[in-house]
Symmetry: C2
Subunit: 140 residues, 2 copies
């Protein structure tokens, strides 16, 4: 996964730098979306330092290459996660316990593509967030 991203990076003429590897490493292993400062914090606990400006720039690059994606998080912050699902990022956010679950579904994408087509809109990326109650919290 991270290796793939680095290959794509290089194939597009970008360097495989230490900061880029570190950011990809974190994104690759943490399931939840992460803000730039989240990433900085995680790396900090591992004794690695990256300037926040650098992290912003790396995330911008990854997004522009579709290797990562910005999304709406429960708190409203910009987050990024590795783009394992080619333009489809969906999240279920529990309003009660805050749990976030990411998933992808190509059928929904198709429906959305068709729908947008009616407006002459050509869709490339699908982001969505369902808020409600997770199975645990719903039972209560």
């Amino acid at each position: 996964m991270v290796r793939d991203s680095i290959r794509i990076l290089q194939a597009q003429g970008h360097k495989a730098t230490r900061p880029r590897k570190l950011v990809l490493e974190v994104l690759g292993e943490i399931e939840n979306p992460l803000s730039p400062y989240d990433i900085q914090g995680i790396l900090h606990t591992r004794g690695k330092y990256l300037n926040h400006v650098t992290i912003y720039r790396i995330l911008d690059l990854l997004c522009s290459l579709n290797l990562a994606h910005k999304m709406l998080s429960s708190g409203g912050f910009v987050k990024c996660s590795l783009d394992a699902t080619e333009g489809c990022h969906r999240f279920m956010v529990c309003q009660h316990c805050g749990a976030i679950r990411e998933f992808a579904d190509k059928e929904l994408c198709q429906e959305e593509n068709d729908f947008a087509q009616n407006f002459g809109f050509h869709t490339e990326h699908h982001l969505s967030e369902f808020s409600g109650l997770c199975s645990r919290c719903y039972k209560k």
Copy 2:
């Protein structure tokens, strides 16, 4: 629309204050999502002043009552718009010209509800953002 919101506000024991009326007024007439500072700016051009803290608090309240909603904007900021569509907020954002078009679709909601149900998730709000090319930019 705004009148309705005020009624709901009062029914829940909240006061119909001048700042709340002003924020609702703006949200009700501007079609695009607005950030707290957007709202402050619009009011400013009309000779009305509201402190940004007040606006944040009002938007929080409106969201908690489902009278408004936070969303991902093209720039990644938190925006709010009046909730005319009961838990369904969908946006098409053109990656080229930045145009934002809001819409709602109950069929998509149904599909999403069903999908989430498979995970035991009970969906209450649907947010989605399609990014791609609007009809104009796609032609070029």
